[in-house]
């Protein structure tokens, strides 16, 4: 049996029609008018021990809802979930003991306290024995470079420092599984790299199973072996990162600097995706026009100062996939926010 099994999980939310004022709030106690929104629609996947899985999808796709069900916070409407042969929403406390969570948007630190006091608190909460606690702490302090801010109150820390401390908290009790919900949100490049390095290291050294949601495709590209992509509650793709690229990356990107600022390739096979003065970023599909032909065409018809070609990054691919979908259902994407 796989370490995590998610079988045919469906999650519906009732969206109550709100009423105003005191009488309205009392009324809504009894009132049963609601719409049903299906946040997760028949999802199944398996994750083995020690895997590092990127779980991606646009806002409102059902990522957080799935994670919350795996954490035991939410109950599926139907279907079942097993994590390490436990049902998280039934054996919630046993499951929580072996699990670590980081919600990038929220902190599990205490605003006015030094970071080290927070570690002490979680040590008591998870009943971590003294020796193991010290080992882990010195390992994390080293790996995350936390020495310099260990004694400072949390309110004085930068976002990156807080995220590092949060990661350490989530891993202090040697969990088997760690869920990271947007762990690099709002961080600068250096901080992001540090976090990514840490996540990889933890996964490699301790065989911790990691499920990571993110909107930053560099996160996925740099650390994940496997990608699960979800859209409007259903799985769009589940497989290795390489296969994903082979399957969806059929194009390439040309960055061209024209000598004339107003120049613009008017051939419909060129799709201009970004314009910065004379510099244009153009997306082409291999099926429509091959690289040599595209370059020849551009050079012949325009005065070009500079030109570069690159394979699209996964970010572009995902953006295309998201966009393709939102074209079909523009209103739903706009109306439904992330569910947290």
């Amino acid at each position: 049996m796989a370490f995590i099994e998610v079988n045919n999980v469906i999650k519906d939310f009732k969206i109550y029609k709100k009423q105003k004022g005191f009488t309205g709030s009392v009324k809504s106690l009894f009132c049963s008018q609601y719409d049903i929104k299906r946040a997760v629609d028949n999802i199944s996947f398996k994750i083995d021990k020690g895997e590092l899985v990127g779980y991606i999808g646009p806002n409102g796709a059902g990522k957080s809802t799935t994670i919350k069900m795996m954490c035991g916070i939410l109950l599926p409407t139907s279907g079942n979930i097993m994590v390490n042969s436990r049902i998280p929403y039934v054996n919630r406390r046993e499951n929580a003991m072996r699990m670590g969570v980081v919600f990038g948007q929220r902190s599990q630190l205490y605003w006015d306290l030094p970071v080290c006091e927070t570690f002490d608190l979680y040590k008591k909460m998870y009943r971590i024995d003294e020796k193991r606690f010290k080992q882990n702490l010195s390992f994390f302090i080293e790996l995350l470079g936390m020495q310099e801010f260990l004694q400072r109150p949390v309110r004085q820390l930068s976002l990156g420092q807080k995220m590092r401390a949060n990661l350490a908290v989530a891993l202090l009790h040697d969990p088997d599984i760690v869920y990271l919900d947007e762990p690099t949100i709002g961080l600068d490049v250096v901080a992001k790299n540090r976090i990514r390095h840490f996540i990889k290291e933890i996964n490699r050294e301790r065989a911790v199973t990691l499920v990571l949601t993110t909107h930053d495709m560099d996160d996925i590209e740099q650390i994940c072996d496997r990608l699960i992509m979800i859209e409007k509650g259903s799985i769009l793709y589940d497989g290795s990162l390489k296969e994903f690229k082979d399957k969806y990356c059929d194009g390439y990107i040309l960055t061209v600097v024209f000598s004339d600022e107003s120049a613009r390739p008017n051939d419909p096979r060129f799709k201009v995706i970004k314009e910065e003065g004379p510099k244009k970023t153009i997306l082409c599909s291999r099926e429509v026009i091959n690289m040599a032909e595209a370059v020849t065409l551009l050079v012949r018809s325009h005065n070009i100062v500079d030109l570069s070609i690159k394979e699209p990054e996964i970010e572009e691919v995902v953006r295309k996939l998201y966009e393709k979908d939102s074209e079909n259902y523009p209103s739903t994407i706009a109306a439904t926010g992330e569910n947290d």
Binding site: S25, V26, C71, I73, R93, R106, E117, L121, K124, D340
Partner: protein, 266 residues
Amino acid sequence: MYYFLLYLNFIKINLQSIFEYRKAFWYGQVCMITSYVTDIALIWVLISRFKTINGWGPYEIMFLYALNLCAYSIAGVLLRKPTIALPSMIQSGEFDDILIRPLNPFFYTITREAAMYFSQLTVSAVTLTICIMKLQLTINPASVGMLILVIISGALIQGAIDLFAAIPAFWLIKSDSIKDLLIGDIRSFTRYPISIYNRSVQVFLTLIVPYAFISFYPAQFFLKKNDFIMFHPVFQYLTPAIGIILIVLAYKFWNAGVRHYNSTGS
């Protein structure tokens, strides 16, 4: 034991947080004490004008007030902050953080929001002591034991009411209106002996929102009164039973709320 140790730890943490802002802490304490002293002074002005209200002398009414404030501040230490915080925790999804921990959500919520209401506790203890002296109430192990029992049970009743006011937030997300009604408006009836009110108010404060069991009925026992309005004198001994029943009901209600949260989220 585990929760108790954790609780002490959270108290330590919260005190540390409070002491980070020393001036704000002292301002807060001074304001609180001033507000309660003003409150007491106002009641005092009123009752000393009338000499007695429905057979209750000034110190007897103060005793009633102090008994109520004692229960209110003890319940406050354990439950006021968590019950006030609950709606916003549910609204912001912060309640998720409670559920990802390997702890009982009820005890964890209480533990994590541990608070110390020094000023309320001080004001109520001082007022209660003054009243006991002035009224020359008998002080022996039995009466002191009974007083402690009544105060603790009263705190359970008050705590249960706090919980009943906050828990609907699991369904409504916001339950401020219920809280204001139960803890603000209705509670202010208990400043005076409820025998001065209309019958329907007496029934309401006895059977529906049983504030009368926190101070009015047990006070009859200590003051050797016989002012049971339409109810039986046995009511003076019922406070502990009512306290336990209510807190158990509140806990069940809480669990129902958490189950609802499990199926709906924030």
